[in-house]
Subunit: 332 residues, 2 copies
């Protein structure tokens, strides 16, 4: 029902161009590293796990096109977006293989394995997370942590898809997620197409929904989780977590271990991408703010571990504490 986020075919990486959703389903062919970098930068492919997979394919493409270009390709890919750690995780895997003398064909197989691996992690996240949702649960989610953010069925939305599959009646409120409206354009579209009961709200409505209607859980994805459990995710997630805490609603983050970054001690150390002011002032094809206005446009915010009830991962559900994280990461 939902087109593939990314697919390797005809010697190239084909992406569903997410900048065109929800009105157009257009495939974008990436046959060069520059095209992969550009697709990541412009958000044709987005979502931390999907960016990681795309990055791995980017390295394979470089090797297939010109084995001498692999090192500089990895550098270019690493410079595309700074916050989601899955990209660096995937590039590190590819770098090690390249240094160990992997052939272009072997690098392609490695990228395909990263893709298959992400698909399996998503499935397990759904499996573990679905148990947290009671029948008739109402869930709020932010941005898109669904199939379109991964190679599989998503992270936060995997939990919902699996719960629905198990026969639970789940109602979802999707924050539209300004400035780029991934909630309205992608999550609403993806859930609607999958037959999940979804209602679109603006970001500023989430707290009022918590107050006026029963909300059982807030579930989002993450772009990078620090060693102490602080989690960076799409801007607006932190305010949503604060509102959930105020209303006594559990706030969960669903993410694969490729999103956990043991090298970053805490949230303050996570690099936060700031994007072009025009995303805020003319994000919809016409100018909606006065010319010359100052804009602050961080693409992510950091939710401190103490606002997170649990992480939902492919290895199970565990609390957002340094100890639990260290233990779970040691199992790798």
């Amino acid at each position: 029902l939902i087109p593939k986020t990314l697919e390797w075919k005809n010697d190239a990486l084909y992406l569903l161009d997410q900048t065109r959703l929800p009105l157009e389903e257009v495939e974008l062919r990436c046959g060069t590293v520059a095209e992969v970098v550009s697709a990541i930068k412009c958000l044709a492919v987005r979502g931390a796990p999907a960016i990681g997979v795309a990055g791995a394919y980017g390295v394979a493409i470089a090797a297939l096109n010109d084995p001498a270009s692999v090192v500089s390709a990895i550098k270019d890919l690493a410079a595309s977006r700074p916050t989601a750690v899955n990209l660096f995780w995937a590039l590190e895997k590819m770098t090690l293989l390249h240094r160990a003398g992997a052939t272009p064909a072997e690098l392609l197989v490695a990228a395909q394995e990263i893709e298959a691996d992400d698909r399996e992690r998503c499935r397990l996240i759904g499996e573990h997370g679905a148990a947290l949702l009671p029948d008739e649960a109402t869930v709020i989610t932010h941005c898109n942590a669904g199939a379109l953010a991964t190679a599989g069925i998503g992270t936060a939305l995997a939990v919902i898809y699996r719960a629905v599959e198990l026969g639970k009646r789940i109602k979802v409120y999707a924050d539209e997620t300004r400035p780029l409206l991934q909630g309205a354009r992608i999550t609403a579209w993806e859930l609607q197409r999958s037959g999940v009961d979804v209602t679109l709200i603006t970001d500023g409505m989430a707290a009022a929904v918590m107050k006026r209607r029963r909300v059982d859980a807030v579930i989002t994805g993450a772009d990078r989780i620090a060693a102490n459990g602080d989690a960076a995710n799409k801007i607006g997630t932190y305010g949503l977590a604060v509102a959930a805490r105020h209303h006594g609603i559990p706030f969960y983050i669903a993410a694969p271990f490729s999103t956990f970054d043991a090298k970053t001690a805490h949230g303050e150390a996570i690099p936060i991408e700031e994007r072009d002011p025009s995303e805020v002032t003319e994000g919809f094809g016409r100018r909606t703010a006065p010319p010359g206005i100052a804009v602050f446009n961080p693409a992510f915010d950091v939710t401190p571990a103490d606002l997170i009830r649990s992480f939902i991962t492919e290895r199970g559900v565990f609390p957002a504490t340094r100890e639990a994280l260290a233990k779970a990461m040691a199992e790798r």
Copy 2:
């Protein structure tokens, strides 16, 4: 510097058409009650105090055009928008005068007095509120509670204008305020034009700004304040108040007494307008959500009194308690 929100001239009510801001400054002439009702419904004039003044002029226009139409005109005006109580406050004043036999000319004078009275209330709100802001204060505001929401210099923004006038260096973050972007289109424009240091953010960024940067106060207007201090204001205000509480930042509501509604016991009893889903799905001239998607689009939310540090009014600053409100209202 800022065009007049509304003006009586050439036997008609002229409004600055706020749906066209910030790119066009177009005057809208209302010579009939139907035109005033339509202007209120489509938000050409908006902001609780300004709606009240426009409603009063609407009654005067009815009387001048056809004295027999006043009662039905009042009914039509009262049905234009349900939440802001200033409209009903102004219509009640006009109704009493009409019943007491006021001539059309006298009703016009009464509308002009309501306008002048609102201007003076704004001035006093600024005077009382400015004392609350330290030099170099950073303030977050939501929606537009400025000159464009009143007949004077605004409510929340009156506080800022007066503080700046007194030589204080004030920095403002303006929430863009989805769905209709009054923060981006009107507040940012109005503050920029007045030379106030303003930075535009999306609604979902406010909590992150509170966490990452120093914020000294959150100040908004209100559309209706119940007898117990619960306050309805533009959707998103409640989440902002929750975030302010989480960060220990005082949350103020600036409003004239025409916004206080002694007849409404508490926030749950305030009627909340729900507006067309298209404001969320195609609010920018093009569709940004999938066709057929369910949307929840309340135009307002209610902030409970216990999240409000103080009310800033034309009679001074006082706490959001039933007792303080009753005392202040008795002074009327």
